[in-house]
């Protein structure tokens, strides 16, 4: 699995993805690791099928005991179906996830890890000196959905917002925004159910200082491409499966 450092300061952000060993037919995902000198958190650690590749890649950067926290933006299997295995690897860890999905996510197997239910209005995770904000992103696409904002690194981990469906081995960052639009248009129109939720999210994100927008599928947006993405999404009609 490819690991790319996307921020390096007093703490680090690393994105894992483009797994060549991933079984065919399952969607490629980006997993994120935020690490300080003492602690680390895995954001949307992925599905059961990529667990081995993911853990192998992670152990190049942090020890098992350093991973104190996990985060699940929502309940989908590509986000967190590996939970039962992380539960065996990190028995002392805590999982931050929407309160709405607790009874559902526990079906993936949660016996050791502590479930920290995040309220609808969001919360924060303190990772030594680093504070990560868990922002509400409900109905984008899940009815209980969260994103992670790091005001120091200026990174917004945006879950399925910004996601693109691409062939294996795509680059990590969007270079040509216009060429990228086709790869994400259908995804947003079909997976995102609510224009109201989308526009509310855009309004709130415009108030943040975002240098990198980091989705869970496809390429990341950097610099001016973040603004281009927000403008594009604002103009896009979503929830298109309802014809009338």
């Amino acid at each position: 699995m490819k690991a790319t450092k996307i921020y390096e300061g007093k703490h680090e952000w690393i994105v894992f993805g483009r797994d060549p060993e991933k079984p065919q037919g399952i969607i490629d995902t980006n997993q994120y690791l935020v690490k300080t000198s003492e602690k680390a958190i895995l954001l949307d650690p992925g599905g059961i099928e990529i667990f081995s590749s993911m853990l192998s890649a992670v152990l190049h950067h942090v020890s098992v005991e350093q991973i104190t926290d996990l985060f699940a933006s929502h309940q989908d299997p590509d986000i967190i179906s590996s939970l039962g295995l992380w539960d065996q690897a990190l028995p002392e860890a805590r999982l931050h996830a929407p309160w709405l999905w607790e009874g559902f996510i526990r079906h993936f197997g949660l016996h050791n890890i502590e479930y920290v239910p995040v309220p609808d209005e969001g919360s924060e995770v303190n990772l030594s000196s680093v504070k990560l904000n868990l922002l509400p992103a409900h109905y984008l696409h899940s009815s209980g959905n969260l994103h992670v904002y790091d005001p120091v690194a200026k990174i917004l981990m945006s879950g399925d917002i910004g996601a693109a469906l691409e062939p294996p081995g795509a680059d990590m960052f969007v270079e040509d925004f216009d060429a990228h639009v086709d790869k994400m248009k259908m995804f947003h129109q079909r997976w995102m159910p609510s224009n109201r939720a989308k526009n509310d999210w855009i309004r709130r994100v415009r108030e943040l200082d975002v240098e990198i927008l980091a989705p869970q599928h496809g390429r990341l947006f950097k610099g001016e491409n973040v603004t281009k993405f927000l403008d594009w999404l604002e103009a896009l009609e979503v929830g298109t499966a309802i014809k009338s």
Binding site: F51, V62, V64, L85
Partner: protein, 211 residues
Amino acid sequence: MNNKEAAFVSSTSVAAELFVVAQVARDMSISVKNAKAIANRAGTKARGFSPITDFIDELSIETMKLVNAINKESIELSRIAINEIRIRDASEKFMMVMTSASDAQYVDSLKPSLSNLKKTQTAERVRLNKFARKLKDLMDDISQRMAVANVIVANSRIEAVNAEEYRSNLESIASDIESSCAKIRERVNRSQQRLESAMQQWKGLMFDEGN
């Protein structure tokens, strides 16, 4: 279906097999109540029949209780079996990581988790064997009760001979009870075989792993 799946499916199917036993035992209890009513009407002509019906009634109620107990135990057995599979899968994945990430700086940090998994796996296997033994004992108990019931039914036929005009009714009920006992014995035997097969498959898997 591979061995791993077959093992826990077999243990679950024990409960399904024995569900039928509970139904048959219930039917047996109804037949016995009929026999009791006839024996009461027959009065002194069926004097010897009443204690027999009381005994078989008690036996059928006990059998239903045993089936309920077996049902609970077999569901627990299946739950342990599934948990053992999950732990084994995790253990296999961790070992894969130890190999694939052998050059990773922090690979050794996974060792305590792997060691804990192995300990849990051993504990689950001990529990699995314990529950399998308990299930076997409960099923043996039912089989023994059915053997006793057979002897009692034979006695009831002798008693029925003296019941004059009630004879054919009582003989028919004795046949029903006999048939119920045979059905229960057959189902319990099948369940015992399924359980035995599940445990053999399990032992085979452990042997394959070199444990």
